[in-house]
């Protein structure tokens, strides 16, 4: 089991949970995987032999996971964690190496999060990113949060 799988299992439950869940419901883990299907392409093509995941873990944490083989054919992986703090975005990878995003990286991260949000809300949750309201005629109890898009 890769570090990514361990991390997501710890955070969102075992994959075995999916076997026992009621029909027609989706676990948070499954939803994150659906979101990451969108997120992994936001930074451009995934190089051959790489596996990439990019997703929103919770309301203040974003994860970028990358796995690849090095020149010796050994598996390599890096998990980068972005935490939203009042004074900026704190980036850490491989359990250490903390630092706030600089201007360029902040810009890229901001664009990626925006695209992720807009595509995930529309493509997966069928909701208007600006209002959170369903794009269908179904009633919604979206929180009163308005995004300035």
């Amino acid at each position: 089991m890769s570090l990514f799988q361990k991390a997501i299992t710890l955070l969102t439950g075992s994959p075995k949970d999916m076997d026992t869940r009621p029909l027609k419901s989706l676990t948070e883990r499954e939803l994150i995987e659906l979101e990451s299907d969108i997120g992994r392409y936001l930074f451009g093509p995934v190089p051959r032999g790489h596996r990439r995941e990019f997703f929103c873990l919770d309301d203040h944490t974003w994860i970028w996971y990358e796995q690849w083989k090095n020149e010796q054919g050994k598996d390599q992986e890096r998990t980068t964690r972005y935490e939203v703090h009042p004074n900026g975005i704190l980036k850490s990878y491989d359990g250490g190496n903390y630092g706030y995003l600089d201007a360029d990286e902040m810009q890229n991260f901001g664009v990626a999060v925006r695209l992720y949000y807009e595509q995930v809300m529309r493509g997966i949750y069928k909701r208007d990113p600006a209002t959170g309201e369903l794009l269908t005629t179904l009633p919604s109890s979206a929180p009163n949060v308005t995004m300035s898009i």
Binding site: L31, F43, G44, P45, N87, I89, V111, A112
Partner: protein, 173 residues
């Protein structure tokens, strides 16, 4: 609805044995540029921006997208004076084949048009509209707002009718 990016426009790839085509030099340059892009591409500036309309439909079509990509890659090639072809540049071949399959030609006129489009970095044609290249979020409050909305959307999924979840899972299929 599957999202469309430059990396998942699937077409069969023509080969260019010996480079006999008059367009070979251009394609070779473009391939080389793509190699560079793929080897360093962790920058969202390389994204082709596709903005869905309010019903979730992406109005940019493959032709617009292919042209945009060709132009961007061509400009990068010119800027970096790259050359050479490697095995890893399948994406560009796909893009070029995509363009051809839709009746497009690969020639210098196309390159000029494509470059002009790519240089218009503030917009990508979406149907008949011009949609601005989105600005990213910049403040912690914006990131937290996004996170809360996603968290809310996740929690609401199983409260919706079966048809809603069907729509989500069909999207994923």
């Amino acid at each position: 609805m599957a999202q469309r990016t430059a990396s998942n426009i699937a077409f069969q790839i023509p080969s260019y044995p010996g480079g006999t085509s008059s367009n070979y030099a251009l394609e070779r340059d473009l391939q080389a540029s793509l190699d560079k892009t793929m080897s360093t591409n962790t920058n969202s500036a390389n994204l082709v921006v596709m903005t869905p309309d309010k019903d979730g439909t992406l109005y940019i079509n493959e032709k617009d997208q292919a042209l945009h990509n060709i132009g961007r890659l061509y400009d990068e090639t010119a800027a970096n004076n790259l050359g050479g072809v490697t095995e890893s540049s399948k994406e560009l071949n796909q893009t070029m084949a995509n363009w051809r399959n839709q009746g497009g030609e690969i020639n210098r006129g196309l390159a000029d048009d494509a470059r002009s489009m790519a240089r218009d970095t503030a917009s990508v044609p979406i149907g008949e509209k011009k949609v601005s290249n989105p600005e990213g979020y910049t403040t912690p409050a914006q990131f937290l707002g996004v996170g809360r909305m996603i968290d809310f959307a996740r929690k609401e999924v199983n409260a919706q009718p079966v048809s809603y979840i069907d729509a989500i899972t069909n999207k994923a299929a």
